[in-house]
Each structure stands twice: as C-alpha cells, then as structure tokens.
C-alpha cells in the first residue's frame, strides 16, 4: 500500500485547498495519473500518483484544506483495506490503525457520491452532468459554450429579458422552451438584492492579501521614462525575418533589465526576512492576466540567456499560465516584474510591487508623438515605462540611473549583445 501525500508546494505556501478529487475507491490508477487538484496560493497544482494500483481510500474531498504531507489517497492491491496492511506486529499497531481507518471510510463513501464514474454520461442532456471531457481537459477554457438548442419563442424571451440563453437548461433535456426561460428568469430575479457577491476564490484572496501587503509595508516610489521604440521594433522585425521568431517588447525589456543590472545589481535584489538579498542572476516575472486572476510566472537567469531563448521561455510560461498549469516553482522567484498594459491602449500607469521584489516596470502603449529635432517636428514612436521601486533597496538617484540605462538599452538594442 502506498499513501499519496500532498507535496510541498514551495516557499510561501502553507495551506492548499482541494479543488477536485479525480478518483474514487476502486479506481485503477497508473503512475502519473492526476488524482487530486489542489489550489495553492500560486496556482492549481495537479497532484500525480507515483504508484500504480487500485485506490483503496480517499481521505480528502473537494473543499478540504490540506498542508504538505497530508495523506490524500491510499493506493494498494485490489481488495486491500486501508490501514490493515503491513502492520502485523501485534495488537498495539492494529489499534493505532483503527483511527485513520474510521476517518477514512466515511470520507471515501462520501466521495463516491459526489464523483460518479466519469465514464458514464447522463443520457438526458444537461442533466446534473458529469461532463465527460472534464477529466480529459481540465484546463479547457471557459470560453466554449455548450448550449442546448432553443425554440424561437424561448430565444425571443431570453433576448427581451437580457438572459444568456446558453445558461438556460432545458427541462425536457432536448431543447429550451419559452417556459424554461421564464422559470430561469424568475429564479434569477427572485432574491431582489441590488448586487451579487463575487466569490473570492483562493487566487483572488491571495491577490488581495499580497497587494495590500505591498502597499502597506513597502515604501515605494515611482519614476517614468519615455523610450523611443523604433530600434526595438526593427529588432523584432529582423528576428521575424531572419529567424522567424516573434519577439515581444517584453522579451527585449527583460533582456534590457538583465544587461542594466550589471551596473545596477540592486534590481536583482529581494527584501526578505529583514535583509536585502542580492541575487547573482536576473529572474524577471511577467504579469499575465487571466479571467478573474493574475499570475506572475518568472523566467530565470535572463542574464545568461539569448533573446531567442527568453522569447521561447516566456511563451511557454504564458501558455502554462493560460492553461492553469503553472507550478509553484514557476512563480515567486523573481526580483523584477514586467507589467505591460500597452495592448489595451493604456498610455502609462503605476504598478504595485510584487513583494518581496525590488521593483516593477509598468509598460504603456506605443504612441506616435511629434519631436522637435532642432529645425522641425518629426514623428517618433514612444512608450512610457514607469518603475515602482522599494525605497528600502533602491534610492531615487540609483533607480533613475537604472531607468536611464534601461532606456538607453531599449533605444539602442545592439548594446544588449555587447
């Protein structure tokens, strides 16, 4: 018998919430099968089985809070009972075992109820569904709607009342009728309150806690530079043409931070345990917005990586983030974060430092502005980058000079390769 325990999820995590249990007693599992998904303060972490066999006990259920080392599931041979094996050295051991056994049994039964065999799909569509694909692609984006066909009358009523018809279930399991829409709309209007309460899932709670921690404990100051982007733009074009690599401005900015950190090593620092720790390598995080959440995956050792590699690494990280597959190790190890809202036409903004990092660079949109070149106005493309710095680590003059160096590197990216 093997007990699958909650693995340690990295530095800051102490607790995790079980979001789904994918097995039930009697299921056959292989090594590598995801048996439980747990939400830590950084990500939803799939817990894989490292043993093959039959599930003989499930000790957690969705919603339970666990810490590293908590036993989640026991795996053994078919017919084996949890707590009865390998301990035949007298009654005392057996007595010790009775306790986990007692707690194991009801949990397992309860679990059997809420997670019916995923292989079977209800024949009546839209019934309290175990959707088959849920186990296949847990990370499937929510954007895909699976609605039922609707009668024209139902569609008209839904439109009239401003209801998304895809949310209405058909009472007959086949198609949505006008009466279904009426029932749905009555249900949604009934409670009469003026607002809905947004559910604070784990990630939102973490964002709230960490951002508040940042603004209340870090003495931050801000400074902006305006950077001409034509050189960076042509660098992107060259990479596209010569190597067919789609560099992003963030990739170039990350590299520029790393090169600038040779002269300004404090940007590689973190304020931890009351001391300023200056790291040897530059680890740069990238803020990635997800529906209802924000994560900051980090690409490590930017200083020793080629632009090409940096681009590949960020792309992989963003993909993982979008698919909800970021591991604790992919986050929380940076000293600088890049937050780019340029794609949403935000010209400039200040960002909140991601503790315990030393700074965060807020990158705005690229705009064309007139510039006086001495005899006439000429159009130049610029973007505004605003740095927020932890004053405990970086003072004004130091931070300004770093920004100046960063600007120079971005405007003359050849220097990135020197």
């Amino acid at each position: 018998m093997t007990e699958i325990k909650m693995p340690s999820a990295g530095q800051t995590t102490d607790e995790a919430k079980i979001v789904s249990v994918n097995v039930k007693v009697g299921d056959k599992v292989k090594r590598g099968d995801v048996i439980v998904e747990a939400e830590t303060d950084k990500a939803v972490l799939p817990v894989e089985s490292f043993a093959s066999g039959e599930v003989i006990a499930v000790l957690v259920e969705p919603g339970s809070t666990v810490t590293a080392g908590t036993i989640l599931v026991a795996i053994g041979k078919a017919g084996e009972k949890y707590g009865e094996t390998e301990k035949n050295d007298g009654q005392k051991a057996a007595a010790e075992d009775t306790e986990p056994k007692k707690s194991a049994a009801p949990a397992a039964e309860k679990d059997g109820e809420i997670a019916p065999a995923p292989e079977y799909i209800p024949i009546i569509k839209g019934g309290n569904a175990v959707t088959p694909a849920a186990s296949v692609a847990p990370a499937a984006p929510a954007a895909v709607h699976y609605s039922m066909p609707a009668m024209p009358g139902a569609k008209a009523l839904a439109k009239e009342r401003g209801i998304d018809i895809s949310l209405v279930n058909a009472a007959n399991g086949q198609f949505v009728k006008r009466s279904d829409v009426a029932v749905y709309s009555a249900g949604t209007m009934d409670d009469g309150s003026e607002y809905e309460v947004m559910e604070m899932n784990n990630i939102r709670q973490i964002i709230a806690r960490r951002m508040l921690e940042s603004v209340s404990t870090i003495p931050a100051w801000q400074g902006s530079v305006i950077i001409k982007t034509d050189a960076a733009t042509s660098l992107r074009r060259i990479y596209k043409e010569q190597k067919d690599i789609k560099l992003s401005y963030n990739d170039i900015a990350a590299k520029a931070i790393a090169v600038a950190s040779r002269r300004f090593p404090l940007v590689n620092a973190r304020f931890e345990n009351g001391e300023v720790r200056i790291f040897r390598h530059t680890n740069v995080g990238l803020a990635v917005g997800l529906p209802g959440a924000l994560v900051v995956p980090v690409v490590k050792n930017i200083d020793v990586k080629s632009l090409e590699q940096i681009s590949v690494d960020y792309r992989a990280m963003v993909k993982k983030a979008r698919e909800g597959r970021l591991l604790p190790d992919d986050m929380g190890c940076g000293s600088v974060t890049i937050s780019n809202l340029g794609m949403y036409d935000t010209d400039s903004f200040t960002a909140i430092i991601n503790p315990p990092e030393s700074c965060i660079l807020a990158v705005g949109a690229i705009n064309t502005v007139p510039e006086w070149n001495g005899s006439e106005f000429v159009p130049v493309n610029v973007m505004k980058v605003t740095g927020s710095f932890d004053h405990r680590i970086i003072d004004g003059a130091y931070g300004a000079q770093f920004l100046q160096e960063f600007k120079a590197l971005m405007e003359d990216p050849v220097r990135l390769f020197m």
């Binding site: 209800p122 296949v136 692609a137 039922m148 399991g173 086949q174």
Partner: protein, 455 residues
Amino acid sequence: MENYDLLVIGGGPGGYSVAIAAGKKGLKTALFEKEKVGGTCLNVGCIPTKYLVDKANAMEKVRSLVNKNIFDGAGSFSFKKIISEKDEVVKKLTGGVSFLLKKAGVDVINETATLKKNRTVECEGKSYRGKNVIIATGSVAASIPIPGAELCIDSTEALSLGSLPRSMTVIGGGIIGLELACAFASYGTQVTVVEMLPELMAKEQKEAARIVINSMKKLGITIRTGAKMLRIEKEGALRRAVFEYEGSEESVVCEQVLMAVGRKSNLCGIDPEKLGLEMAPRGVIKVDEYQRTNLPGVYAIGDAAGGYQLAHAAYAEGETALAHICGEDRPYGTVPVPVCTYTIPCLASVGLNTETAAAAGYEPVLGSFDYSANGMALAEGAGGCVYAVADKNTGKTLGITIVGENSSEMIAMAASAVADGLTTDEWEKMIVAHPSLCEMVREAALDCFGRSVHK
C-alpha cells in the same frame, strides 16, 4: 508462378463478395488484402458508423419516452463501451467473411499486392498469374490542403476515440460527415458542420432533405453551408476551426475537427501508367458496362472504378464482372441503386426525384405520405415522410425517397418497385400488412394520382 482462374486485389465488400461467388462457382480464386478482409465498410466505415448511429437512435428514443413521462429518468451511458462493443461487432463480421472465403476455397493472401502486365500479380516475392483479374482496391479518406489539416482526425479515428469530445467541427456535409455529426450530437457533443456547397443533401428530394436538416438543428448541430474552411489552429489543448461564412471570418473552438470531405480511389499497387491502364476523370479506373478496363481480362469494381461509393454498388459491380468472366451477359446499371444516409432520422432514396426526373424528360408528379398518418409510426413514436415520384403519362413509379425511422429497410421494397416500374394500378393491387410502416410507401405511390386512401 502460380496459376489461378481469378485474382482479386482488395478484400472489401466488392472484392470479398466476388471472390466468394467465384470460389462457389468452382473458379480457382486468390484474394489479396493488405489489411483486414471486409475493407473500409466493415472495419472503419458503414458498419462501425451504424453501430454508433444505432446507439444514438436508441438514446433519442429514450429521451422521447422520458419527455412523455413514460420513463422516469434515463440513466447514463458509456461512450467507451459503445466503442469497445462496436469493435466486437466488427470482429464478428470480419471473422464471418474470413470463414466464408475459406469455405468457398478462396486463397487469401494477407500482403500488399502489385499488379503487373499480363494479368500477373506480385506479392511478397511470389508471382501469381490469373486468367482474369479484378481490381477492387477501394478508396481512402480524402483531405483538403488547408493549414492545420494535420490537426484533424479522419472518420476512422472518429470511430475509435477514447472519450467523447465535448465539441467537434465537421468539415464536409456529405454522407460520412452528416452521419457522424448526428451520432456525436446525440451523444452530447456540440457539433458544427461546415460545408462548402450552398446546401446539404443537394441530390435528394428537397422536401425530404429539409426534414433531415431541421432534425439535425434540433439535435443541436450548427450548420454552416456555403462556408469555406480556411485553417485549423491550435488553442491550448483545443482546436480553432476558422472558415469564411457570408463574407466574413468565423471560427469555432472545439476539441476535435473531423475531416470528412469525401473519399478518393485507392490505387495502391496499381500503376496505371506502367500498365497502360486507361483512367477516367477524378482518378478512377475507366470501365465499361461489364466493368472491363481497357486491359484484356482485367476488371475494376467498387470505389476504384468510381460511381456510387457504396458497398452494395460494389457487390453488384462484382456480380456483373463475374458474370462476364463466366460468359454471361449481365451489364451493370440497368437497376437503380438505393442510397441510404444514416442521419437522425435516416434518409433513403432510390431512382429519380422530381428534379432529376424532369431533367430526364419525364413529366413528374410527386406523391407523399406523412408518418403522422400511419398507425404503426404513431405506435412507435416514429416521424418522417415518404415521397414518391411517378411519370404523369405512363403512371410508372420513377423514384421513392423515405425519411424517417426504418427508411433503410423500407427502401428495399421501393427499390424493387422502381426497378419494375410499377404503375399506380399495380400498386393498388398490392397488399401490405397492417399495421406496418411499409403501408406508407404504397400510400405515397398512390398519392401521386390522388388515390391514397388515408390521406
């Protein structure tokens, strides 16, 4: 060099049936098949699809019973079991075909064969000489060259998926595409059909096609006709199918994209240029009404020779070829071929429809009879309609289209009536059991001249 009376290349429906028939007639026959006997039809085509469609129909039936509160709830089903049971059925059938071949004394050679000049077939270093050769190499799934085509699955893969996809886009609204679209939609997959032509089932009687299309919409299938597939993109673990529809780009995100744009002839082991084999347009082998190619003693049947891509057409072509080998005169094409599309509901037709009859110079009259007026259909909770086309001048039945439950069974009766050119007087003399769905075929034929009793 081994000598045979007949060498058959390809063990699909056309090949295996002609080999068995030849063996039974006492011809020394060898059959070459590189994969499994039964061909596309038995292994990865008609039969497996029908298994899937049948289970879907069963579920539709259960749903209607639940809807009427006769059943209290419906329980659940396992897609995995459907697939594994389907494999059992296929195994049983191919086993049966192997047994029949053995019993008929046919030598089955399970290797890839190559046709050489002078009716010689080479296989695994050995040469076989036949007095006659029948090419029955069948067809393979076709594909369209769009970016991301490699992300698609074909019908063979769709029939052996490990789990039910939540959503699927079907490229191509032909028989294969529509049948699978219906089955998966009934299982609960969100299906989108993208067809390049402006309408689905264009060759069928319009009224009947409309019933099928409406029913597919009720199943929740999204239909995009006149839409040009542009590309398939990866979107995480999913696919994004991008197509042009009504002048703008549309896209669907789905788990699977099924490429079902038709089948092209398979000429594996046949090199037309080297052999001097004459070809017809669209890459099929040119044959005459006796299925003869331009090479003496060499015949071609089934999908390799074009025409209807249907197993029963291949059977009939094989029979024609064998009759000719045995010195009989039985040209192909004198009898109409019934065509069944196993959508939900199934559409079956034989002979002409009003459009093709008018084009052929007849003065067509259309008779119809709805399932809702038939006792048996009401008892079974079946819906649909029968359409009959007759010539106004001679009263002869030219074609029949049936849409609804059991249409693929009823079409046999219709096919024999159309083949014989039954007149209204003859229909009137016919006695059909009551209650039965077949009554509707007679009533529809009589309705052409306003002589239906129950309408």
